[in-house]
């Protein structure tokens, strides 16, 4: 085969490949969605005892929720946040 034609064909193939490569890579490297959980952090207003539990509808920071298992004092929600859990 003519060397010029071969060179042109190789060049065209390379051009197509370099154009498509980032696109293909972006597809293959796409990470799966992470598992997330909404949690509420409860804190005893007296002894500072803390407990993390799943978020319940109606929770808000500063909401009084039950009593402390250690000293029976008032527990309040001190934080609500989304925790990202490892996949699986």
């Amino acid at each position: 085969m003519d060397p010029l034609l071969t060179a042109l064909l190789i060049l065209s193939a390379l051009l197509i490949l370099t154009t498509l490569l980032p696109w293909i890579l972006a597809f293959t490297r796409k990470p799966g969605p992470a598992r997330e959980e909404l949690v509420s952090v409860l804190r005893c207003s007296k002894c500072g005892y803390e407990e993390i539990r799943k978020y319940n509808k109606g929770d808000y920071v500063g909401r009084p929720v039950g009593s402390c298992p250690r000293d029976g004092s008032r527990m309040v929600i001190k934080a609500i946040y989304v925790e990202t859990l490892p996949q699986g």
């Binding site: 034609l5 804190r43 509808k57 920071v61 500063g62 309040v76 609500i80 946040y81 989304v82 990202t84």
Partner: protein, 367 residues
């Protein structure tokens, strides 16, 4: 025979290359092709935006239905295309802040009247949340309208540069719209968002206690003692979606104590640069508040009137994070910001003196 055939192919290729080069360099055909490519790209993204809008509308309607609003779709429609704000004349800067404040308050009062009329008598935090939900849907609608406007304008006048610019910006626009759409889950459920770090730090300082009083409408004042210093804490009234009037509240509190305050510390979420890490906590000078003008200037004016040093503690995050439910990383950053505020109080406020801390931001999910 074979060599002759190859020669022919090479000749065809050379002619083809010559023709292609002529078309590329001396005609508008490549730009027309690009215009089609970019416009189809924008259209595909526009479908995504429309889906987000439909979803946002559905969430808003179902939220209002759950509150017992009759004809929620009609209520939503009555809001999204109305309640615009015409900016005051900026060419004449005299009393512009007063004019801005007047217009912002007038608009807010019209919005609140509208919501009160449709909701009837409900808790104020619910009223604030409905207001935010309607505002979010309104923003998503506006983004959609603007994108469609620029696309149609570009196609009408064959302005391929405009369409190309729009196509390049589309991924960012879609991300922002997704952030707004996702924020509806937080606003309707009452979950703190990234922008809530300011009120969260204020709540930590108050030891999660109850406010002393409402200093101005929708803005609470707490008073605690930290290591011998009297600390006044200002934050929007929660747990509904509300940003309050921190500037006006600060002005009032400082005037009440005759300006006898050692320091003012503002805490807020700040937009990070792409090169910065989310959750970075930084300390600086000035009023940390992303306000259009009146609240920020009120803080600056009262601080300069009584020569009170004005500190700022910010938590860096992206726009997406600011509108999404608070992540653990940002919560930990809020704890760091709280410690930073404590350090400033210990180092720069003398024992027995007063300091005011303002937790700026949306207090959704934070009482």
């Amino acid at each position: 025979m074979l060599v002759e055939g190859v020669d022919n192919i090479v000749s065809y290729l050379i002619v083809l290359l010559f023709l292609a080069s002529f078309i590329m360099n001396f005609t508008d055909i490549p730009q027309r092709i690009q215009l089609q490519r970019y416009s189809s790209f924008v259209r595909r993204r526009l479908y995504q935006l429309e889906e987000l809008e439909v979803d946002a509308r559905r969430k808003a309607v179902s939220y209002m239905s759950s509150l017992g609003v009759s004809e929620p779709a009609k209520v939503l429609e009555g809001f999204v295309n109305n309640f615009f704000l015409i900016r005051p004349v900026e060419l004449e800067p005299i009393d512009i802040i007063r004019r801005y404040k007047h217009l912002i308050r007038t608009r807010e009062s019209s919005v609140r009247d509208y919501i009160r009329t449709v909701l009837g008598k409900v808790e104020r935090s619910i009223q604030y949340s409905v207001e935010t939900v309607l505002e979010v849907v309104s923003v998503i609608r506006l983004i959609n309208k603007l994108v469609r406007h620029y696309l149609e304008l570009g196609l009408k006048y064959n302005n391929w540069i405009l369409v190309m610019q729009l196509a390049i910006q589309m991924p960012e626009i879609v991300e922002l719209t997704k952030a707004y759409a996702n924020s509806l889950n937080a606003f309707t459920s009452g979950i703190p968002i990234g922008d809530s770090v300011g009120p969260l730090v204020a709540k930590m300082l108050s030891k999660w206690g109850e406010p002393l009083r409402e200093v101005v409408e929708g803005t609470d004042l707490y008073e605690v003692e930290i290591e011998g210093r009297r600390v006044y804490i200002i934050k929007a009234s929660g747990p509904g979606s509300n940003v309050g009037w921190p500037g006006e509240a600060l002005e009032k509190v400082i005037e009440e104590v005759g300006g006898s305050v050692d320091r003012i510390i503002t805490v807020d979420a700040a937009l990070k640069l792409e090169s910065e890490e989310s959750g970075e906590v930084a300390y600086g000078t000035g009023a940390a508040i992303g306000d259009i003008g009146p609240e920020k200037i009120a803080i600056e004016r009262v601080a300069s009137k009584y020569s009170i040093p004005l500190d700022a503690v910010v938590v860096k995050m992206s726009e997406m994070e600011a509108l999404s439910p608070l992540s653990k990383k940002l919560y930990e950053a809020a704890v760091k910001a709280y410690e930073e505020v404590l350090r400033v109080i210990r180092d720069k406020v003398r024992e027995g003196n007063r300091v005011v801390v303002v937790g700026v931001g949306n207090t959704v999910g934070v009482r």
